[in-house]
C-alpha cells in the first residue's frame, strides 16, 4: 500500500508555517483493500518560533489584524513609539501628539507648523518619511517603495543563529503574507543613536545582550530583547496521543505562540485557563493534587470536565459528583469529591453537574 502525503507537507521533516491560522492533521486510509491499516506513533512536533513579538502594519501604521505576534509585551512598534495606548482615550500616544492610524492624521496641531495642514502625518507620504515623535518629519533614506512595515523581535538565544533576520522586515513584506523571518533590512539591527535619542536605555540593553548595530536610523524601531533561552529544534510543543489517530486537530497557531510555544500535551484541550499542558494548567494540576477544599482556580470555577481532567492529570480519582449539601456540610454548591494519588481527600467546586 502506498502512503500518500500532501505534497505541500512531508513526513519526517519540518514544514514551515508561513501564516498564522490552523493546522489540520489527519491520517486516512484511502486504500480499496479490506485489510485493516494501523497507524502508530504519529507525532506532530512544532518547533518554537524565534519571534516573541512582531506584526504587520498598513502604511500609515494601522496594525493588520491576525498578523501580530504577541508572545511577549513590546511597547515599541511603528516608527518607534507606536502602540503605546493612552489609558483614557485608547489613542496611540507619541511623544508630542496623539495619532490616529485609520485616518493617518495627528489629532492635535503640529507644534512646528511644518505643513499647511497641521494634522497630516509623515507629510502624507509614509513611504518616504517618518515622524517618530509627532514633530518634524524625517526622510526615510533606505526605503523608497515601502507599502507596509513589519517589525519583529526575537530572543537573544536565537539572535546569533539568525542574526541576518534580526531587525525590520520592510517593503514587500506584507504583500507576500506573514513572512516570518523575512527582512529586507537584514544586515544588522539598526537603532536610534544612543547619544542623541531617548532610547539609550534600551540601546544599552540590546548592546549588553551582544547585538551589533549598524548605522543609526532614527526612523527605525527599537529592538527589545529577552534573556530567555530557547533552543530551536529541540522544543516540541505538541504531540498526538500514541496509537491510531484519525481525528482532525485544529490548533490556532497564534494561541500556541501565546504560551511561548511550549504546550506539550497528549490530548490538548482549550480550557478557561488556556491549553492543557501550559504552565498555568500544570500549576493548577499541582494545586488540585494538594487536595482540600477548592472553591475556585485562579478566580474561575471549573466545569465538570475541566475539574475531572485536573484531578486525573494529577493522578487522583473521582469519588462522587454531587449537588450542594444541606447544612451543616460546608460544600453547599455543585462539587466533585476526589482522592489524590497520595490518599488526600479533596473537593472542587464546579459550575454544574
Amino acid at each position: 500500500m502506498a502512503i500518500e502525503t500532501n505534497p505541500e507537507f512531508s513526513v519526517g521533516t519540518a514544514t514551515p508555517i508561513p501564516v498564522p491560522g490552523y493546522v489540520f492533521i489527519y491520517v486516512n486510509n484511502n486504500s480499496s483493500s479490506s485489510t485493516p491499516v494501523y497507524f502508530d506513533d504519529l507525532k506532530v512536533t512544532q518547533l518554537h518560533s524565534p519571534y516573541v513579538a512582531g506584526g504587520d502594519f498598513y502604511p500609515f501604521g494601522l496594525a493588520m489584524d491576525d498578523r501580530q505576534i504577541k508572545v511577549e509585551p513590546y511597547r515599541f512598534g511603528y516608527q518607534g513609539q507606536y502602540a503605546e495606548k493612552d489609558s483614557l482615550a485608547n489613542w496611540n500616544a507619541f511623544q508630542l501628539r496623539m495619532y490616529e492610524p485609520r485616518f493617518g492624521r495627528w489629532l492635535t496641531v503640529d507644534p512646528y507648523g511644518q505643513f499647511d495642514s497641521p494634522y497630516i502625518a509623515m507629510g502624507n507620504n509614509p513611504a518616504s518619511y517618518t515622524d517618530p515623535d509627532g514633530g518634524i518629519i524625517l526622510p526615510e533614506v533606505t526605503i523608497t517603495a515601502a507599502r507596509g512595515v513589519s517589525m519583529w523581535v526575537i530572543s537573544v538565544a536565537n539572535a546569533v543563529a539568525v542574526s541576518l533576520q534580526i531587525g525590520l522586515a520592510r517593503a514587500g513584506g506584507f504583500a507576500n503574507g506573514f513572512n516570518v523571518g523575512m527582512g529586507v533590512n537584514s544586515s544588522l539591527v539598526s537603532l536610534v543613536d544612543p547619544n542623541t535619542q531617548a532610547h539609550s536605555a534600551q540601546y544599552a540593553e540590546a548592546q549588553a545582550a551582544g547585538l551589533e548595530f549598524g548605522q543609526a536610523f532614527p526612523q527605525l524601531m527599537m529592538m527589545r530583547v529577552t534573556g530567555e533561552t530557547m533552543t530551536p529544534g529541540t522544543s516540541p510543543m505538541f504531540a498526538t496521543p500514541r496509537g491510531p489517530v484519525t481525528r482532525p486537530m485544529g490548533i490556532p497557531i497564534t494561541t500556541l505562540l501565546d504560551v511561548h510555544g511550549r504546550v506539550y500535551s497528549d490530548n490538548p484541550e482549550n480550557t478557561q485557563w488556556g491549553w492543557t499542558g501550559s504552565k498555568t494548567w500544570k500549576d493548577l494540576v499541582q494545586k488540585v493534587k494538594g487536595g482540600g477544599t477548592i472553591t475556585d482556580l485562579n478566580g474561575k470555577i471549573p466545569t465538570k470536565t475541566e475539574a475531572i481532567k485536573l484531578i486525573e492529570e494529577g493522578g487522583g480519582k473521582v469519588d462522587r459528583i454531587e449537588a450542594g449539601h444541606a447544612d451543616p456540610n460546608p460544600h453547599q454548591y455543585n462539587h466533585i469529591n476526589y482522592t489524590t494519588n497520595t490518599g488526600i481527600k479533596g473537593t472542587i467546586k464546579i459550575q454544574g453537574l
Binding site: G291, G292, T293, K304, I308, K317, V318, D319, R320, I321, E322, A323, H325, A326, P328, N329, N337, T339, I344, K345, G346, T347, L353
Partner: protein, 124 residues
C-alpha cells in the same frame, strides 16, 4: 470486559453488604417519580443527604456522564443526589463507605444512626 448490567449488579451487592455491616437502610434499585415522569436509579438512601433522603446514581469514567433527569427530579422533590464513581466504590472498604455516609449526613432517628458516625472524622 464486564458489561454494564454486571457492573451494576456487582456494585449493588457491595452496597447491600455494606448496608448490612454498617446497619443503614438502602433500597436498590429505586424508581424515582415526579409529575408523571419516572426514572430508575441505582439506589435510595432514606435517611441520608436530606430529610427526604437521597438518590444514588452511578457514573463511569472517562465521561462521568450524569443524568439531568435524575438531578431535576431530585431538586423538585427535595431529595439529595449523588453520582458515585463505579470504579471507586466497587473497591472501597468499610472506612470509605463510612466517610461517604458521614459526608452526606444522617437525617434519620438518632437511635438508628450507624455506629460508624462515632468512629470517623471526615477530613474533607
Amino acid at each position: 470486559m464486564k458489561d454494564y448490567k454486571t457492573k451494576i449488579n456487582e456494585l449493588k451487592e457491595r452496597w447491600l453488604m455494606m448496608a448490612k455491616e454498617l446497619n443503614f437502610e438502602i433500597i436498590t434499585p429505586y424508581v424515582l417519580s415526579h409529575n408523571e415522569k419516572s426514572v430508575e436509579c441505582f439506589a435510595f438512601l432514606p435517611h441520608f443527604g436530606s430529610i427526604n433522603g437521597m438518590i444514588l446514581s452511578i457514573v463511569f469514567p472517562p465521561d462521568y456522564e450524569t443524568s439531568n433527569e435524575i438531578s431535576e427530579i431530585c431538586r423538585n422533590t427535595g431529595k439529595y443526589c449523588s453520582f458515585i464513581n463505579y470504579e471507586t466504590y466497587i473497591n472501597s472498604n468499610r472506612q470509605k463507605f463510612c466517610e461517604t455516609l458521614i459526608d452526606w449526613g444522617y437525617f434519620g432517628k438518632l437511635k438508628d444512626r450507624p455506629s460508624c458516625f462515632d468512629e470517623f472524622v471526615v477530613a474533607q
